[in-house]
Assembly symmetry: C2
Homo-oligomer: 376 residues x 2
């Protein structure tokens, strides 16, 4: 195997696939990057037990030659050392591998050799049927992930809750995440011939949003029995699916509402942030909300030993009972408010022990549900 | 005590004095900031067993009123909670303390109260004789600290080596730091009537450089038996001195030189950085330097299991024996090269087991000494 590659392209590709590589892998070969040189491009692969990231470098990028392949071949080489060397090299990188898996990396007057792994031992990629696929813009995909994935459970006690539930029907893609104390839900219209409901680990989706951050592209989504694949022009992310049945979201939505208020999203976020001051003092990051004089929201929290904080904010609109008080986990409320881009939100209360529904005003495609905290 | 203070000034002062406050203090009151309101200003104090930082906020800053004191007084309040509250407040901050040490912090519609400490329990500041002082520009002071303090010992086995030795005579201030494997030395001309040699903890000096980073000011230095004080117009840092005798630097300097070479500082730094690739594979971060063909420097390192790296750089000038090879701790060499601003350096070798002397070309006020590493 032998090729000469543009420094910046090679480093970007190494950084991208390294996101899938864990230093603490039990299978030593997975600490390596698989490099496949073909006549028409070089493919880098990094993987762990949950995800596989594959990056293609074509011969030309934006009409500029970035790669010349002299000899095709496959090699697997330490991700850690390859990335450390490559980022410190000044110019184009000349990479060779001999039949003994010794990889020589040269740039200018600098020569490094690394002992590679036997590439035959590298796990095979899952096979994907590319006929049925869903198309979505990378920007929309990042948006719906960011607006929901924070709500997954951090505990492994119910594995399905550590994932985000992606559901496709003919007209819509919906994303839901819950840790059973709070729920985030978002829906967008798409056209697809794929139907079904899949639970994707939130860690995979978070890696995906980082990978796609600077790409404006159409993402193709494929699904097999065990894997979901997100594919742009140059990068593919394969994620393991979580097995099991996801809870029925519609059953969780409150049926009755006693009080509805409309608040300024950003102002409320700042107020809750301040009220979270004594956050470390409790297990549940308690913040108290109380409607005062029918037109103001009093936000407060206190710690007997340290002190207290309170403020009042104007309610934009109120409907229903005006005498109301509830305690919530302030960090859950902040997460929900951060996920809402709209200027105003509607909060619907069913009672002090009923979950609060938070929705952007004039946008029925997103909702957040937060269960109250008992205070005694 | 009662005053209204500009948000930005108050936050900056809290951040500055908080640098001296440790969360893991055994004396609870030292987790607090002491606030002293006088008619002509407010003083904030933060301290731990090694350093005290005192910040003065005057009534006016740049002809703008930033502070109004309604009632003088003293209070000590949790640094953690005060700083978290203050940075989230939107406008001018109104601070009051009552006779029960309850501190009320108000801004706009937001009110917070914190339970304070009894201010009488706060340790007294060391008394300084302000008649004898050394004056130095903050920029020069930061420079000489940054060029030496990295070389101190990280181990507490010889406490004097964890400090930087500041020596004043009539005409010069010199700074020296060593961990007994490497030494950094810098000298600058100053005029002073203070004489003596003091060992200052490197941690204090590092805090000092952070404090003074954005201040262009003349720093006044005072010394007492146990403390050294660095004072600008608005901020003072008191540091404990380390007791003991500092090693005699001049005795360490090599007397004989076999080979002298001149190299480009930045290019050599980059080469050593690359050669440090396998740094984690050894206890001493070994990098081998070898003179080749009388005109080139070969920089290399290798690890039998992983691989190797090497490069050659042009020597600008060579004097003495041209057949030479030595192994050094690459990270020590990088630290020394980073401390040198000049474009070229002179390296003087006395033999493969003698320390290497590194000096900026055309600047006799700075030197670095690094002992070689045995390779077998």
């Amino acid at each position: 195997m032998e090729f000469v590659i543009n420094n910046e392209c090679f480093n970007k590709a190494i950084t991208d696939v390294s996101k899938a590589i864990s230093l603490k892998t039990t299978l030593p070969i997975l600490s390596g990057i698989k490099i496949v040189a073909n006549r028409d491009g070089v493919i880098l692969v990094g993987s762990n037990s949950d995800i596989v990231i594959e990056k293609v470098i074509h011969l030309m990028v934006d009409d500029e030659k970035v790669l010349e392949v002299y000899e095709t071949g496959i090699v697997v080489v330490s991700a850690k050392y390859l990335s450390e060397i490559a980022k410190k090299l000044p110019k184009d990188i000349h990479l060779r591998a001999n039949e003994k898996q010794v990889v020589t990396i040269q740039s200018d007057e600098i020569i490094s050799t690394l002992n590679g792994f036997h590439s035959e031992e590298y796990p095979r990629l899952p096979q994907i049927d590319e006929t049925a696929c869903i198309k979505i813009s990378s920007i929309e995909l990042i948006d719906i992930i960011n607006q929901t994935s924070f709500a997954v459970s951090k505990s492994e006690s119910r594995p399905v809750l550590t994932g985000v539930n992606l559901s496709f029907n003919e007209t819509h893609l919906s994303c839901a995440a819950t840790n059973s104390q709070r729920l985030a839900f978002r829906e967008i219209p798409i056209e697809t011939d794929v139907k079904g409901s899949f639970i994707v680990p939130s860690s995979s989706l978070n890696e995906l949003t980082k990978l796609l951050k600077n790409e404006v592209d159409t993402i193709h989504i494929f699904v097999t029995d065990n894997y979901i694949v997100f594919k742009s022009k140059t990068v593919s992310l394969f994620s393991r699916l979580i097995e099991g049945n996801y809870p029925n979201i519609s059953g969780l939505l409150p049926k009755e509402t006693k009080t509805i208020i409309i608040m300024n999203t950003n102002q409320l976020l700042k107020g809750i942030d301040r009220a979270c001051l004594f956050a470390n003092e409790w297990k549940n990051n308690n913040v108290n909300l109380e409607i005062k004089e029918g037109s103001k929201l009093r936000i407060s929290s206190n710690s007997t030993e340290i002190g207290k904080i309170e403020e009042t904010q104007m309610i934009k609109m109120i409907k229903g009972e005006a005498d109301f008080s509830i305690s919530l986990d302030g960090s859950f409320l902040m997460d929900a408010l951060k996920a809402i881009k709209e200027e105003e939100i509607r909060m619907s209360f069913g009672g002090p022990m009923r979950p609060v529904l938070i929705e952007p005003l004039d946008n029925p495609s997103q909702l957040h549900l937060i269960s109250p905290v008992r205070t005694y």
